[in-house]
């Protein structure tokens, strides 16, 4: 049973890393689309949407991981 917590925590860390990488990717792709020299408004609009989503996602990742790791830390101290 002790393995489950470690497994899930490792999964947490890995998924957080992937999420940050994807934020950077989405940010880059968004700016690439927005700044692309293509006079198609829909493409530029998609880029704008991607940037907005990426920023919101980054905000929620930062906030969420902080709060959840705080709760997990407290729970591990209480449960130990």
């Amino acid at each position: 049973m002790a393995g489950i917590v470690e497994f899930v925590q490792n999964l947490d860390t890995q998924v957080t890393e992937v999420a940050w990488s994807i934020f950077i990717l989405a940010w880059a792709v968004g700016w690439a689309l927005r700044g692309s020299p293509i006079p198609i408004f829909r493409v530029k609009r998609t880029g704008q949407d991607l940037i907005e989503d990426a920023i919101l996602a980054a905000f929620w990742i930062a906030l969420g991981t902080t709060v959840f790791s705080l709760i997990t830390y407290i729970a591990s101290q209480v449960g130990a």
Partner: protein, 265 residues
Amino acid sequence: MNSEYSPFYILYIAINISALTYVLGSLFYGLPIPLYGLKKWGPKMMSDAIYAAVWINIYGFIISFLNQLQTMLGINWDYFYNLLVNLEVQLFYLMTTLKSIYYIVINAQLSAAATLFIPLLQFSAFITDIILLIQFIIDLGIFIQNSYMLLIAIGVLLISLPFRMGKGIGGTLISSSMVFYVGLPYLPIFMKNMTGMYPQVQLQSITINELSTLVETIVGIIPSLIITFIIIPILYISILAGLSIGLGNTIGGTSGRLPFPLDLF
């Protein structure tokens, strides 16, 4: 109980899993693929994870609230067990009396009493049915009283799984544990209220004095026994099950649960 399987350990796993759900949700949120069907999982899973985290953190409050609710209703498990075991003892006593009469009659080889054999056997079989039902209710009570904390913790764990995998079943598990833990000890009082007297009094009123009126006594007492010991408990457990389904929908349903929106775009 093994300490590794304690409710708080399960909650510790659950908070880790809900963190995973949250991070997965934010990953979907920031995905650079403009597919709405995929991206809508982002805010959904994030709010699910927050919801599960709220459940994990109010777990202790819920347990004490359930006990407080029981105290407010003026019931406890000791009362429940006392009353039902007492009823069982009375029923055993009644069955022993019936069997004794049966053996006396059969050994005496009274041809006049031959018509009593079948009603006596049927009635004692019926009493056995009632004893089994009451024993089932007692066992259910023991199970719920011993494991309601674990069941609620497992329900919270199921709620915290990503992609809403265990949402419905987790909510049902939590709600049925809560409803039965508070509601089941109330059964003896419900039986008393529905029949107007304590079931023991009803059993004590069965007196078998004369063989000639035995069949009439049995026939007269059966309907009230069926109502008190079979219909009313089944009705009460059905009411509790209905309440559990309603509460389960409230806890694990898909309707909006966070008072603030996460998807700000």
